[in-house]
Amino acid sequence: MTLASPLAALGRPVLAALAALGRVAIYAGQTFGALFSKPFYTREFLSSLLHVGWLSLPVVGLTAIFTGGALALQIYAGGQRFSAEAVVPQIVAIGMVRELGPVLVGLMIAARVTSSIAAEIATMKVTEQIDALVTLSTNPLKYLTLPRVLAGTLTVPLLVAVGDIIGIMGGFLVATGQLGFNKATYIQNTLDFLEGADVVSSLVKGAVFGFIATLIGCYHGMASGRGAMGVGGATKTAVAAASVLILAANFLLTSVMFGS
């Protein structure tokens, strides 16, 4: 054991992660390029809209309503310590819209959509369906990846918007039902406090997270190893990578948009 070996042990995974990030970036570029050449597979796109967007609504709604409710309770309890419990509507709104809405929806999409995309494409890979697509003159990047990534980028912001609203509603229900807030004042305070920039940041984050979640799912599915182990490995790696990337992107976006 030399002095340098702990450094090497640290350096190797970092280098590997950077190389992987580079490959993902190239893949993202190719996907983006595929947007500008024919054909565009409309049917696959519509089906992706359904699976990524519409069918994720229940999960997003449930996540948001419980989070909003818990947030209201925490802010009330915490605020009471310096008699600032009246700020519940404002903090719930800003917390949901700026951070928790996009992050939680992003993570739920990573769990629900990234995993299913990765498993589906990996299974197609190991059963030679991807090879079959190629021999049938169909570019998998256009047929499989682009529709999913486009659907993710377009629908996840909408899911985030829905999550924001439902989360605020969760806070509203708890605050008015349990903590004695006046309904009209609560809504008024929320609306007065939120700014356009908060909402825009929420949607931008949603689009970026939707892009990451679907792209990573496709990428790891395509890179799957052979057999059932390969599919399992691809799915696991995809969900972990998408979640970490979403959190990292969230930090970056927050620093850029609110860091000054």
Binding site: T127, E128, D131, A132, V134, T135, L136, S137, T138
Partner: protein, 248 residues
């Protein structure tokens, strides 16, 4: 004409192809035989560009396949994969008509469906199968759907990877006749991989045996039985003892 010159392919330390030379003339039916795991499927995938050979040259009508315009090149091919490789999110008829529902060969849905049902009939499947999903079919039925998909757009060159494995003898006979018919009536060029010696005799114009990463023997099907090559003799008679080790 498809020509492979000195093609090699390794997966890590597994040297699968070690210098394959093979010529398949236009309009002929070539059958490739050889032990399990010798690289027959890899060979076909190399020609299609699904696997990139390490060395060597593969040409189609004199043109390097690696440099060919992919879309136009692949449009000339049909391929039956060993495992069927049906798209399980699509119905049987949509699988068969895949090429006819999109891309340059696109035609109206009803017409594509009619062609699909006709191709299904040719591989011995009733029209009712058309609206099922691949997962609802038996293994042999999936294989035949894969075959129907490979021939649906009437390609010039067709690769069949074990078209009759998993089929009953009667169905195997139907498929053998179909492949023979496609070659002699439609003038297609075919490469078929099979372990079934009845199929070899029914389908082949020429036979090539892959062993040890090279084409060990090739010749007209008539000469297969009389060749003195001990590898071929052991293989076609299915003897456990001989130059080919039983444990590989």
């Amino acid at each position: 004409m498809i020509e492979l010159a000195n093609v090699t392919k390794s997966f890590g330390s597994n040297h699968v192809l070690r210098g394959v030379n093979l010529i398949v003339p236009k309009g002929q039916s070539m059958v490739v035989i050889g032990g399990s795991g010798t690289g027959k499927s890899v060979l076909l995938k190399c020609v299609l560009g699904l696997v990139r050979p390490d060395q060597g040259l593969i040409t189609l009508d004199g043109q390097d396949v690696a440099k060919a315009e992919r879309e136009a090149f692949l449009a000339r091919f049909g391929m039956l994969f060993q495992g069927g490789a049906l798209f399980d999110s699509l119905k049987v008829w949509e699988n068969v008509a895949f090429r006819l529902l999109r891309g340059p060969l696109k035609r109206p849905k009803a017409e594509a469906r009619a062609i699909a049902i006709e191709k299904l009939r040719r591989v011995g499947l009733v029209p009712e199968t058309a609206d099922l999903f691949p997962a609802e079919l038996s293994g042999g039925m999936q294989k035949r759907v894969g075959l129907a998909r490979a021939i649906a757009a009437e390609p010039e060159i067709i690769f069949f990877d074990e078209p009759t494995t998993g089929l009953d003898p009667i169905m195997a006979g139907v498929i053998n006749d179909l492949i023979r018919e496609i070659v002699s009536e439609m003038g297609a060029t075919a490469i078929t991989i099979t372990h079934d010696m009845t199929s070899v005799r029914a389908i082949a114009d020429r036979v090539a045996m892959l062993h040890g990463g090279v084409i060990r023997w090739t010749g007209p099907v008539k000469e297969m039985d009389v060749t003195s090559d001990p590898y071929v003799q052991q293989f076609i008679h299915g003897r456990a003892t001989g130059p080919i080790a039983a444990v590989r």
